[in-house]
Subunit: 159 residues, 2 copies
């Protein structure tokens, strides 16, 4: 019972451990809930949404590129793409330079859907940030960066 709250000598306290785990779990849950909310609002499955939101600066995407960026299998991309094609959000274009490749482009309907989804997500993000004191906001961003770096370091050590 000689655990201190403050960093007396740099050692982790039991309370810090517990707080960290609890808060991280809660934050994770909130993020998950937010994703579910958006998916349901637009009636687009989450994985399809992630795919839809990849379309940006490039004129075309490919299944292989999408798989790499989303970190999923190519076969899975086929399913997602077909779902979005069925919804009229993307179209398939043959690649004139390599007929194995299918080029994927956003349709106008897909562009609108993407805009709407992005707008909703931005609004929700802004609401979160606006619920935080501007003074605390900078500290928050710094802390998140610190945490991100620490987590990435630990993730790398797992492989």
């Amino acid at each position: 019972m000689n655990e201190r709250e403050g960093p007396e000598n740099g050692e982790l306290t039991h309370k810090q451990r517990h707080q960290f785990s609890q808060m991280l779990e809660k934050l994770y849950q909130c993020c998950t809930d937010r994703q579910v909310y958006v998916s349901e609002k637009f009636e687009i499955p989450q994985a399809e949404l992630r795919c839809l939101l990849l379309f940006g600066q490039e004129r075309y995407l490919t299944a292989k590129g999408i798989a790499a960026r989303l970190g999923i299998a190519r076969s899975r991309v086929t399913m997602l793409v077909n779902g979005l094609v069925d919804k009229g959000f993307i179209s398939k274009v043959p690649d004139p330079a390599d007929s194995r490749v299918v080029l994927l482009a956003l349709t106008p309907a897909g562009q609108k859907a993407q805009r709407d989804v992005t707008s909703m997500m931005d609004t929700m993000r802004d609401e979160i940030l606006n619920a935080i004191d501007p003074e605390r906001r900078t500290a928050l961003l710094q802390s998140l960066d610190t945490l991100k770096t620490a987590m990435e370091r630990v993730s790398e050590a797992l492989e």
Copy 2:
């Protein structure tokens, strides 16, 4: 292009928005990866792990209670429980006071599995926290608390 980095008048900057989204996404991904890692290490599906980790102070849990605490359907609990029963981690006991109810208890093997899983998760959490300067740790915990509060507030407004 007159966006400032600091909180000049409390307004959100474009950079803050972008940073926040990017970091949150990355943090989310790290947390997801960590869960996948633990699940694979023990060869226990994630949902079963979450169920296994619920057993703690109480002598018995019920399917209904597990469903409420995990936020999932009772029918799903049946599947998870059966998976853990098959692995020898939990046992079913009839409730003498209400024969509709199935009481669920950790077996010795289940207790060991739970200990091992918890230990691994604690180690990983400690590695993350130890990768952070003790001075920054307190600030981090405060910021996480601030963020949690903000997120919970925004989540409530969605319902």
